[in-house]
Symmetry: D2
Subunit: 473 residues, 4 copies
């Protein structure tokens, strides 16, 4: 998971990118970066941490120019260093290029080995660097042809925003796995903005124009916007988990309000898995709309019975003698008076390892709940994602080897209900405004139906990171 | 507004204080500090920013000992420097002392001038330093007598947590304006914890024991706990705004769940100010429980129609050409599909200058709402607070010179309703578990009825800061 | 050892102070600080390290005004923190005051205890803070009277440069132990500069005017310069070790060129302690002029047979397995071809613990010298200094318990000769331009004849640091 | 100018490299870096500044292993960034490689363009990176063959120290332009050390073994040391300026003590350019041995009449109103009593732009000298160096367009004498221990006789930096 942003044709391009990245911050908190062009050369600033910490006024002052791209990168357990921060920029014989990538390439390692064999030197363990090297060795002349040439050799998920000295280029993989949208900044009528989610446009009073289509390449330069479709056509397979968890609730994807889709997931969940409860309580923040939908459909009261602290950093210090972990407790705390003596229906979006859910159930019960019914607004997460989401391996996914009943026992809930695959797809496609078809979604993490071949070197990680054994340098 | 925490008798006292401060972070984000004692000397670490940024493992490692106090300080426009961070510590002839203060002294400046005239040298512009100097010049022998001696000369609001080499002392002013509670850490049966709010105990699996009473001084040392009441008795005047806005919803104050009190405020508001609306939308996060109460009582749907970003820092960078301010937009964004075409009832806790409300109303309307009814879960804020809350002067408080009707026009709402003073007090005192009487509250910011004399040098500021003219050095 | 500088009446006062401190850097490398006044308030910047590291352009930009004082502080083993950096500034009832101090007070601890007993709170372990507190409690009105009042209660060595909002004040103790000189910046005819050594004037093209006399207080403000002698008169006792080691060779003190004085010490040493040598080699840099004098008088060749590296910091990292210490080797390296097969006369200024001399002798011998004759251009250092020089205690001074013969054996030299006390005084007073008398010098570190009473609390340390037991806070 | 160091077969290799770099610090103060190998991977730390500032204990702790190479880089006006710091390390298909380079390649730009045309991506503007890319694309198998393959395609000056996971490799260009020596660390009998100058061995108690020969490649790994000569043989052309200025006086190069060579230069200078003077004064530190030789041969007294401050950093802050520059004054100050009324012979090693010499002559005259005779211990510097010394272009070299007489007038000296080319070569080759012939030296900066072809892309700069137009990225 990452967020990308691009702007062309504004005198303070880097500052717009900075604001846009704020709105995409939920897609990645590990590092942030912006590359800007003044028409002659690219200027780069990348740093670890949130956008607010990574950029100060003096950093933006060093990013002059009319075009800029930005990237926020998701936190990963290992491989966390500014070396892997994006956008990645390089100079090659044809000029300079900077790339911001959301997604994950499934054959990056094979291609990398072939490139190294001919003498290419890699600087990072990022799969994105493979794209840059393929661009550099392409025998095409125009940069857009070099990029198409490079991408023809790669498979997987990519929503790319690319900057050269004189142009902004956006490309989405043929299946459209990760989102990518086009916007414009009034009074201009011409699109000059690209972002992972339209929320990034709201912030700067810009307008959503349209989705970048699966397989489309958009080039924006002084001549305006050109669009092409350099790849063989392919069925659309957009990530359904964006609706369940990733995207911001105030975003609109595929014609659908994410907030409304989540409420629908909650309603459907109430139908599939009703519960004898007194109160519906979300795991905040992502579980809130589903809980509102669940409460509405069940005609039960909705309460914010778990309070989230937004001040907790990614690491904190515990007493050495402690035998329990503070993690969940630091982030969530129960409102005792709301829970005590009640039968509580807790709504969450997914269960990964099960350890967090277990702590939440215990917390609710310790606050005095007489029963805890856990309801999940998506199917069991059984399969790792190879398209840019940092899920654990199958080994660690509790649902890949345990039934819902076993999981319910493990997390100590009185009952556990997962939304069905059908129910999930129905909820999303049934949301007002949906454009497309039921088959347009990748739901490999629930179904194991991967829309691309994976190959021996397929790596399950955040884009930008190869497998652990490649992270050595 | 600030938060204080104290612990005595635990081998990792500073780490417990660090965790406790996390739970009090909502009471102050400007700076954080901890002082610990190992029985021989005090060790201090203070830094700007959130607890998570101010403290690393190496900082805690330098704070050994069995006793510790901590402080989080509220953000203020000026006077923001680590010099004003707390706890404030000093060495005087009788030993070392560190003080963490929540509240504000109303005669600090007069006393300070008298102290300077006799040769005392002040290091900061903090009113808390006056306490320390009075302790140092006291002719009493025992530190608790020195402290009582000092506080006899001071008026205003103070919930103090004080550390010496060998003891932890907590004092609350005679009117109990700011909260202060006592806790214990099982398996110990003896109280060894003090905090601004009981939420700080939840985090470390500690237990709430009781409130520190107005006018009470509690001393905890190797001999256990001693309590005394060194001041003349006084009517209780606890800050009612803690229930409306300050305290965490998962806290319990005066026997009352803050969450439940806020829901009651919302219910009462619905009765006093019903509206012809389609949907009830809170200004998150503080408006959420009141909105749930309002929706319940009005039988209208509750929706999270405004999304709050929790990644925005206190300062951010705007384009130079921008004529509007991004502030509110960075923090809040509308969910268009929830608001479009609806008559929206927006619930907030208070209006200060009116500028933020104006932006929120505009945002909701721009998202397509056909009407915006603003409802406030407290009375108009007409008077500045002199007891530790950083409200603006009367000049800047929009309600001090404008009627609700004028304010409604200014913020461009279709209607505006403030909860009445009576309604607010009824809602709080009517909440399940309330112990006490209707007259126990300070509501000066709404009524102008200040429970203490203010004197010529009274300063309206966060504790720890004298008036601007004293901040020169 | 420290260096002080003051300037009044120049629009870039802080920048002049910054340049002046560069020229005094040899007097202290641990920390540097400047306080400037713009007529209304004092602005301070202090930091650890060399002047070049402690001050950047942005730091100087924050020090506006027409008056400034600066301080460089000597490195000490413990107590090294920015808290002890000078100038020390404070606000008291009468206004603001900043003090830069070279010297050491011998009754600071007693006075401090009395001040604490009446309620004064100390911020540092510095003896300089005692001065500030005495100024604050003085019942005098004018600041110069307050300062005189304070200094009447103190004994020891002090060359003080003091800044208030509107004046620059310089005071030298009645015996004139540490140097202090007055200068002017052309085209001004009026003195507006004060410094520890006249070298600080050379750098900024300023002119030496005269010494500040022992016991003199000079006040420079908008009315010009006023001089007074507020103390009872006392015999002059200037530190003779300034000529031997401390002062820069390009300085002039008491009418005498320090370089010429050192050459005279070398000549006299050659007369008292001739040696059968082939070559005269100094321990650089301080031993160079004495070695030139020794070589001239002996008619032997002078060679730079030991090379000093100027890049070595105060701490460095050694291999863990190492049994020897790299210290001296990192700083000094022999020129083998100059030493091999020769009888080498090594000239140094003093021997403190003996360990460094031992390493140097070994180094010269390992380079192939057939004999090493060590000659010291001052008498044996037997007594600690209580007037501002950070010598070890008697216990650690090798000469306090061992004869020259024993020391020679310990350092493994073939012979060792110390200049006699008489010889040293004759050499200095015999230098061209000397004004004064043979009895004008403090030579307590050689003779044990301390010119002041020392009292029970006398502390042997750098000014600014009390005894270890007071460094607790 | 740079310094390189390598060590193989010691458990604390990085710490030895750190100590060795201290001894080479005079060869470069801009940045410092070390790469270490633990047999499996390379670990790197590079930072701006002196070795003492660039490395702390925690940095060395992250450089485990038995082999290490280090590099110190010279200060240059532009292009100063950690990106250009060395050693440069990279991973290619064959493994990892790190390179530390002293020298400058004269055809780097042409080769770089050819490499970019085939798709290589460069990370820095360093010519050293060209070597790495050539190694990566070589079709040879063994790393030593890849290196030889790469170097066959390059011309210019290089003393290289290269580290792989399992070996240390040292190579010197066929003409041996820059020095490179081999050492061993007792008790080991086998050479495991390489350095630019033998001084680096002294520091760690290691022994000089022999020079690395021009055109020699030495490989040290677990099998011991292997030597080969992969290049066509070529006449030796070692840089004569190492003797005049660069090398430390305590180093020995080509069998000759640098200190003794400099004294010989001074003696010869006295013969060629005697002067009617009273005193011989060096410009410290580099002019000291030549001045001692000059004084000896002239039978005139030697005096340290100019004092150098070693505390001045590379940048400092001047008053804005200043019309003169403080630069020289901050570093050098005259000893007035030594110079006043005298006819002073000032000895320096070279004149580059003439501006510094002009300031020095003025300073000596202002101190009261009645005449200033400037004597230079090398011939006029008329030509830029293309082999690793950062001299200005011909345009800026005052001697390339002005006669000695004109320069004397410009610098305001009473007379100016440069040592002749013959005299310089005679002095160096006549020093005790010299091995080789008069024709073994490169003296292109004096004579314009460049020993290699220069080509259109030849760049005059420090190694590691291409021409300004390549520094864009």
């Amino acid at each position: 998971m990452c967020g990308v942003f691009g702007v062309y044709g504004h005198p303070e391009a880097a500052t717009l990118a900075y604001l846009g990245l704020h709105a995409l911050q939920h897609r990645g908190q590990e590092s942030a970066g912006i590359v800007a062009t003044d028409g002659k050369r690219l200027h780069t600033h990348r740093a670890m941490g949130l956008v607010r910490d990574a950029f100060g006024p003096e950093d933006l002052a060093k990013l002059p120019g009319f075009g800029a791209i930005g990237h926020v990168r998701y936190s990963t357990a290992g491989g966390s260093s500014v070396k892997n921060a994006q956008p990645l920029s390089a100079k090659y014989a044809g000029g300079s290029i900077a790339v911001a990538h959301n997604g994950n390439l499934t054959n990056a390692e094979e291609v990398r080995e072939r490139l190294e064999a001919r003498g290419s030197i890699f600087q990072s363990s990022s799969d994105t660097e493979v794209i840059v090297h393929l661009v550099a060795i392409s025998i095409q002349r125009a940069v857009e042809d070099r990029i198409a040439d490079a991408l023809h050799q790669l498979t997987g998920a990519y929503s790319l925003v690319i900057l050269t000295e004189t142009s902004l280029i956006a490309v989405r993989d043929p299946m459209g796995i990760r989102p990518l949208v086009l916007g414009r900044l009034p009074p201009s009528e011409s699109p000059g903005l690209v972002a992972s989610e339209p929320t990034a446009f709201d912030l700067i009073d810009a307008k959503w124009v349209r989705e970048i289509k699966p397989g489309e390449m958009v080039i924006i330069d002084e001549k305006g916007l050109r669009s092409s479709f350099p790849f063989a056509s392919s069925p659309r397979k957009s990530c359904v988990f964006e609706y369940v968890y990733f995207a911001r609730p105030d975003s609109k994807l595929g014609g659908v309000s994410v907030y409304e889709a989540r409420k629908n997931l909650g309603r459907r969940l109430a139908e599939e898995w009703p519960a004898q409860g007194d109160v519906v309580v979300p795991v905040p923040d992502s579980g809130v709309p589903a809980a509102i939908g669940y409460a509405e459909r069940s005609a039960l009261p909705f309460e914010m019975g778990l309070i989230r602290s937004h001040y907790v950093g990614r690491t904190f210090i515990e007493p050495e003698q402690s035998i329990r972990h503070f993690g969940v407790r630091l982030k969530l705390n129960p409102v005792t008076d709301v829970l005590r003596g009640k039968s509580v229906i807790v709504i969450d979006d997914s269960i990964v390892r099960g350890t967090t859910s277990r702590k939440i159930v215990k917390m609710v019960r310790d606050a005095g709940a007489k029963a805890v019914h856990l309801r999940i607004s998506s199917p069991p997460t059984e399969w790792p994602c190879y398209y840019g989401i940092d899920t654990p391996t199958r080994m660690e996914l509790v649902a890949s080897s345990h039934s819902a009943e076993e999981i319910s026992k493990y997390v100590t809930s009185d009952s556990l209900g997962y939304l069905s695959l059908d129910g999930m797809l129905n909820a999303v496609t049934g949301t007002r405004g949906f454009e497309g078809e039921r088959g347009d979604f990748c739901h490999a993490c629930f179904s194991g139906e991967y829309p691309t071949s994976l190959g021996p070197g397929a790596v399950n990680g955040t884009e930008g990171l190869m497998s652990p054994r490649r992270q050595g340098l």
